[in-house]
Amino acid sequence: MISYEWLYVLLGIFFAITSLLSLRSQNIGNAAFWGLLAISFFFGSHLSDLVNGVIVLGLVAIAATGGLKRSDPETTSTEEREDFSEALGNKLFLPALIVPVVATATTG
């Protein structure tokens, strides 16, 4: 049985990685925001309500002061995507279809 707590840890890992990537690209605001969110997801269930509240205030403070910016990660160009789309064909849809299938099967 997968409990929500496992899912939160998985999300926490995702947010922590995002935070580290932001830190690497010198985006301190983003790093702080995603870092705080990672803390909330890892430890939220063990922290006091007050600490969780302070985390929320921290998130709001960063977002409200414009600390959260859109990142500009390295990715493929439109032309490269056209080529990949040609080469991979409709197989590209398969992973995308896993999502509704799994979500429907697990949430009923």
Binding site: L7, Y8, D49, L50, G53, V60, T76, F84, A96, P100
Partner: protein, 230 residues
């Protein structure tokens, strides 16, 4: 009875109308409401922390981003476009009307997670609708393309919202039942589900009309701009 806490609702409306940062608006309104209700500041922060922590499951959608990002990197949107370009007679109006019906029908069976903005609209439906619109109307200005995407997202919302209430074991039905019961109107979930059907049909007709009216309007915009050009 102290009505002052209701001021929080006004704060939300004003904040959104003035386009302040939504996170700031919501949390500001929450703190104001708590203080006006007579809680001390620490108690408000604690309530906020507890509510945020208890509702973390809402953020589960984030988990899908790496997958969608990876697929888009390898041309998922381009593929979705190519598929629709290959379908003869495909128009944005037809495509979105079919998606609306599909979303309502599956949501009515309780399959609410089958679609959604991150997993189906952005990577699949929006690029398909855009390609279909360009196919029937020719190249469109960026502003109109954005409206096509917005209409795709709206179609998902309408389909889900007016489909899920037909399924009786859904949180919203239980909420409606609970509210009615507390005011002395005992209703069964089945009654609520059955009477969600006329609303769903109206929603399909109204939104279906909006989609197709938008498609016709795009044709007019296109005709007007090509006249200017020539």
């Amino acid at each position: 009875m102290n009505y002052w806490p209701l001021l929080g609702i006004a704060l939300v409306i004003i904040g959104f109308a003035l386009k302040f940062n939504p996170l700031l608006v919501v949390v500001g309104a929450a703190i104001a409401t708590g203080l006006l209700a007579g809680l001390d500041f620490i108690a408000v922060i604690e309530a906020l922390g507890k509510a945020f922590n208890d509702n973390r499951y809402i953020s589960v959608t984030w988990i899908i981003l790496p997958l969608i990002g990876l697929l888009e990197r390898y041309g998922l949107q381009q593929r979705a476009r190519a598929v629709i370009e290959g379908v003869r007679g495909a128009t944005m109006g037809k495509l979105l009307t079919i998606y609306l019906l599909f979303r309502q029908a599956t949501a009515a069976l309780g399959l609410t997670s089958i679609g959604g903005h991150p997993q189906t609209v952005r990577p699949l439906v929006a690029p398909m609708a855009e390609a279909a619109a360009v196919k029937s109307h020719g190249d469109l200005p960026q502003e109109e393309r954005e409206k096509v995407k917005a209409m795709s997202a709206a179609t998902d919302n309408v389909g889900l919202f007016f489909g899920e209430d037909i399924f009786m074991a859904i949180a919203s039905i239980l909420l409606i039942q609970g509210v009615f019961e507390s005011y002395g109107y005992p209703l069964t979930p089945l009654q609520l589900s059955v009477w969600a059907i006329p609303t769903a049909i109206c929603a399909f007709i109204i939104h279906g009309w909006r989609i197709n009216a938008f498609d016709r309007r795009l044709a007019r915009v296109r005709a007007a701009s090509s006249e200017e050009a020539s």
